[in-house]
């Protein structure tokens, strides 16, 4: 049998690579072995999203590749330029990462606001030991219809989002478009993993043995197109493959009794219907093909009058919209339909209104009919009482109803339409519109491309929030692109806030009276809180048992109280949202009366509470856990609390900052300042102190943070000022998230007394106020359990400045400093004058160490 000539130059893609038709049979022979290795394995979501994002951006750039795509569609000869442009634009829109993330949240997470990996098993109820996750079907074959060129590609990408190995079955008549696009997608993944999941081939209907080889391996088959085509695929589909059909749908408009009486509503609504019946030649499933009128004899306008009005409006609207001429077959369909209707008109059943611009066929029978399209609609009567019995038999085909009615009727009519099987209801004129995350033909696609797994972990659950915490982490590829410079604190503050990227504003420090602000979307925020909750559980909070009091500061744009409220809510833990309330005896009363066993707050607040209400709390003896944040909890304090009040667990609630979000957490096996990294949220790098070079693994250096997904301020290689060292030994808790030991602060910006201070600001004050020309140094001594932290500004004695005057000047000109010292009383500042030789310097070059942080040093 002679094969039809293929319309494109690429015959098939195998593992993302393009091949000619001479290798197809060899490849098919190897498919089984390929799939044993790859089907069902996890493709990191970030890998897919990144590649999609890059491909979408490239398409939007209109570069040479986009031109190639467009040409490949033109050469098929079946699409107009505007169809091609709209289709390509639609694909680019689909590929935007936030859109894909929203799709995942909607379709796999019930709309939960966090960005999660849906394939990572997590506790569905945070208090239970049962974990659930989505998993790929495995090998998902997509059979697309050739007419809608984007459908197959988009279906493939949907499959990839849930780690399916995808096989797009094309026919020989398809151009290169889907193959070019999928190959490019694979090329946009620098890790090279994605390509293993991408297969596509032209297989004709006269090559059943090839198709059979593909189908035999399938775990799922998604079929698009006409009813016969889908049935044909269904017959060939093996029983073990889930069959996902995306069959034909039909849509209509409905004009209610009340709308017929309301002149203004009716005329606007009819025009909107008329316009929509002309747009895109009714090629969409959501285009109206029938317009129902709830006419009744004797009341209001007749069906004939409505058909005539609609015809007049369609003729007018049609003239405004360039026409695409139907092909021979479509024209034959139109002609035959009109001709038959004209004959039936002799029996009084129909009435035909037709010109070159539009066609309206009035039919007195209510049954839903497909229109021959290209600006043709049926006009039919349908009383609301008959909606269900008329439409329900066709429920498998019903899609959109464009409903024109008044509000009093809206509930009744939408109810009846839904009962009949209608999936979408829109106002007339908006049937073609869709929104992000909208279900497709009554279902969410991603869930049909995935299986749902459960894991009853029992005691193995421990303090894990996700089983992914135990996964072998993918080889970390932090963004080491040399073009991305290190982001400083100042740089962070000047980051542009992207459009739509700011729902929440939090204060993250501030100097000279002007608050520094960090912005987040709600998605960013909830994602971060989700991870922070994971960290808190790992640190020892047991959401099933613990009764928690949230003592963090709230208000004034501070994030502490609110964040921990969200964290505890995510854990479904019992919570007393107290905040740093001034009435300490009330706090104590609530703790005792309601058997609170867990306190969360700043060390200073907690210390203050126990010093004021210590006796009663010691007597109560029920507080067993303290989770702190914002400041350090000193060893002496810790020992005091354990001994005097019987506190069993004192651990950092979260390691992080407002601007960078939660960075890490301490599990029960993390000693001192060792923390696991939230590797799902960030990539961390450690670079040398003096050069922006990665340190050797395990060496100390400056910490750089890249937040993987955040729509607010884009944090890439952000130098948060901590000095860290990676801990190379695996953690006994079983988690594979890397561990870092915090060694203290580094750089001009340093954190002390719950605030950030800047060496350069001190320098400016000294220069401006005293014309001080010398070196100076800031020392942060290890304060060992003192209530306040301390900084010592050492100046050169030869400057002969008075330390008291200098201290006052520093306080006067640094808002953050004075707030910490005078207002919050969390910090003391001393100024002393020493000989130049007394300054501490680096070992090698003898450069001045501007800020000497002694807090992390072993004494």
């Amino acid at each position: 049998m002679m094969a039809k000539r293929a319309k494109g130059s690429i015959h098939h893609l195998w593992r993302g690579q393009a091949f000619g038709d001479d290798t197809i049979d060899t490849h098919l022979e190897g498919l089984h072995a390929d799939l044993l290795e790859i089907a069902g394995t996890r493709l990191p979501l970030g890998t897919v999203l990144d590649a999609c994002g890059r491909l979408g951006a490239e398409i939007e750039s209109g570069n040479a590749f986009t031109i190639e795509l467009r040409d490949s569609l033109r050469s098929v000869g079946a699409f107009t330029d505007s169809e091609i442009d709209e289709g390509i634009q639609g694909i680019a829109e689909f590929l935007r990462v936030p859109n894909l993330e929203l799709k995942i949240r909607r379709e796999l997470q019930g709309g939960a606001p966090e960005a999660r990996d849906p394939l990572d098993p997590r506790r569905e109820d945070p208090r239970s030991e049962i974990f659930e996750a989505w998993a790929p079907l495995g090998f998902l074959v997509h059979v697309a219809s050739a007419n809608a060129f984007s459908v197959g590609v988009l279906s493939m990408i949907e499959g990839l989002l849930v780690s399916n190995v995808g096989f797009l079955k094309l026919s020989r008549g398809d151009g290169d478009f889907p193959l070019l696009l999928l190959r490019r997608l694979a090329e946009h993944d620098p890790t090279g993993r994605l390509s293993n999941y991408i297969y596509a081939a032209r297989i004709g209907s006269d090559e059943p043995s090839r198709l059979e080889k593909v189908f035999r391996e399938a775990d799922g088959i998604a079929a698009w197109g006409g009813e016969d085509g889908i049935e044909g695929v269904r017959k060939l589909a093996p029983a073990h493959a889930r069959f996902v059909d995306w069959g034909p749908k039909i849509s209509f408009a409905y004009v209610s009794k009340s709308a017929l009486q309301d002149v203004a509503l009716l005329s606007d609504g009819l025009r909107a219907i008329a316009r929509e019946a002309c747009l895109i030649e009714q090629q969409a499933c959501s285009s109206p093909q029938v317009v129902y009128f709830e006419t009744s004899s004797g009341h209001g306008p007749s069906l004939e009058e409505m058909a005539e009005s609609l015809f007049k409006l369609m003729t007018e609207e049609s003239r405004k919209i360039p026409q695409i001429q139907p092909g021979e077959m479509e024209q034959a369909e139109i002609t035959a339909t009109l001709e038959l209707a004209r004959e039936e008109a002799c029996l009084g059943l129909t009435q035909v209104f037709a010109n070159e611009n539009a066609r309206v066929i009035l039919e007195r029978k209510s049954g839903l009919r497909a229109s021959p399209l290209f600006r043709t609609v049926w006009v039919k009567p349908l009383a609301r009482e008959k909606i269900v019995e008329t439409l329900r038999p066709l429920r498998n085909y019903l899609q959109t109803a464009g409903l024109l009615c008044d509000r009093a009727e809206y509930g009744e009519l939408t109810g009846k339409l839904a009962q009949a099987g209608v999936l979408r209801t829109t106002p007339p004129g908006r049937m073609l519109e869709s929104y992000l995350g909208e279900p497709h033909d009554g279902v969410y696609a991603l869930a049909r491309y995935a299986r749902r797994l459960s894991f009853q972990a029992g005691g193995l659950a421990g303090s894990l929030s996700r089983l992914g915490e135990l996964d072998i982490p993918p080889v970390s590829t932090p963004s080491k692109e040399p073009t991305v410079p290190i982001l400083t604190k100042e740089g962070f503050q000047s980051l542009p806030i992207p459009e739509g990227g700011a729902d929440l504003y939090f204060k993250s420090g501030g100097s000279s009276g002007k608050a520094k602000i960090s912005v987040f979307t709600y998605e960013d925020y909830h994602t971060q809180m989700e991870f922070a909750a994971e960290g808190l559980r790992a640190a020892g909070l047991d959401p099933g048992r613990d009764r928690c009091m949230n003592l963090f500061f709230g208000g004034g744009l501070y994030g502490g109280f609110l964040s921990f409220f969200s964290i505890l809510e995510k854990l479904r833990a019992v919570q007393f949202p107290m905040s740093a309330h001034p009435d300490l005896s009330f706090i104590r009363e609530v703790i005792v009366e309601h058997r609170v066993n867990t306190l969360l707050g700043m060390p200073s607040s907690i210390t203050q509470l126990f010093s004021e209400e210590g006796e009663a709390l010691a007597k109560y003896g029920g507080v067993k856990k303290i989770f702190y944040g914002g400041e350090h909890f000193h060893d002496l304090q810790r020992k005091h609390f354990q001994e005097k009040f019987g506190i069993e667990t004192i651990r950092s609630a979260s390691y992080g900052s407002v601007d960078a979000g939660p960075l890490g957490f301490q599990c029960e096996y993390c000693p001192g300042s060792v923390h696991h990294l939230h590797s799902g949220l960030h990539d961390l790098e450690v670079v040398e102190f003096e050069r922006d070079f990665p340190v050797r693994q395990g060496e100390p250096g400056r910490l750089l943070v890249t937040v993987k997904r955040r729509r607010g301020q884009a944090i890439r290689r952000y130098e948060i000022g901590d000095t860290v060292r990676e801990v190379l030994e695996p953690c006994p808790c079983g988690r594979t998230q890397p561990r870092y030991e915090l060694l203290g602060r580094h750089g001009d910006v340093f954190r002390v007394g719950a605030t950030f201070l800047n060496f350069q600001r001190f320098q400016r004050t000294l220069q401006e106020r005293f014309e001080y020309p010398h070196e100076f140094q800031v020392r942060i001594p290890a304060t060992k359990g003192a209530a306040r932290e301390q900084i010592i500004v050492t100046i050169v004695d030869s400057s002969h400045l008075d330390p008291h005057t200098v201290r006052q000047a520093l306080l006067d000109s640094d808002h953050d400093l004075s707030e910490a010292v005078l207002q919050d009383r969390a910090l003391e500042v001393l100024v002393c004058s020493v000989p130049l030789e007394a300054f501490e310097r680096t070992g090698g070059s003898g450069k001045l160490i501007r800020v000497v942080d002694e807090r992390g040093r072993k004494s």
């Binding site: 219809s145 016969d228 049935e231 034909p248 004959e343 021959p372 399209l373």
Partner: protein, 405 residues
Amino acid sequence: MNNGDPKVTADLERIFQGLGAGKELEAVRTLCLRSDPYSDFSNTDGEFVSAMQEITAWHGKRNPFYAEWMRRSGFSPVELRTAADCAKVPWVMASFFKAHETLSIPQEKVSLTLTSSGTTGQKSQVLFDPWSIGAPQGMLDRIFQRNGWVTPNTPTNYLLYTYESAPDSKLGTSFTDNYLCRYAPIRSVFTALRRNGTGGHDFDFFGCVEKLRQFSDEGVPVRIFGFPAFLHFTVKKMADLGIPPLKLHPDSLVFLGGGWKGHAGKAITKRDLYAQVSSQLGIPDARLRDGFGSVEHCIPYVECRNHEFHIPVYSRVFARDVKSLAVLSRGERGFLHFVSPYITSMPAHSVLMGDLASVHDAGECGCDVSTPFFRIHGRAGTSKNKSCAIAAAELLGRESTGGRS
């Protein structure tokens, strides 16, 4: 059989008299009883025009629907002067008959109701009086005779790829296929689509193979009639199973009818089927023939040895532009339009079919039949799988092409 068979002609004459048309349909009678189906084609134009005038007036007078349709079309039978003018006779869509029963005779004269063998949707109910079905049967007799297929002295084995009929079957195909067994004495008959006892039919592949083997051994001519898809399935499966090719008697005949639609919507090409049947069953290509006809237009069109559908003197065929419905020139494709005065029971004397076709001059074929012929180019209308919206049109269940009368 009635080619020169006075008895059969007399039977048809008697049937015609039963219409009670008197002289009203004299030209119709003469044309439909012409003994040679293909000779003197253009010389019959005058008679054809007269017959069309008669039948159009017949329906206009007796059928309110058709009278209204003529009125709306602004047509009067007196306009007909040439055979080409017959294209103007107001046509009725074949699909109209699927939805509406419209009679030009009293109900009590209906002697036969045929349902076309469509796969989905509404079934055609076409009503016949004895003349309206007898006339095309007579034409088929004459065409078989002309092809030398009337062999009253040769006992023949029959394999029918058609539905084993229930006693009350109204399916047009079964009706026809049983009718076809009259041209050669029946030695045995095997029906491939057998009743399964639950109201449906199952295809009996192994039964077919067994019968074909037996027929081959018996060495007498075999006649195979019915749906091409099942014959195709048989020969393909035989090849797949490695069943050695059979050598049926060289005077065997394959005469097919029905849609060329195979399993899963896959079209079989005629050329492929003929090649496979030739090699698998040993019947020469010239004795593999397809028939085209339908319940809505019963004139038999039988392939010549070159596999073209020649037009007999009893009808005229046009192709019409899919947009303007203008009559197209030779070779151009458009809607298939049949015109024939044979039918008195329903206004189906001018029928616009749901098929695409082109009409060609006799000379293009080169066989011994000297009349023009037409070629079928598939269904007119939206192709399968075009778009989801368009494909939804399929839910209305359009009829499959080329059902046989």
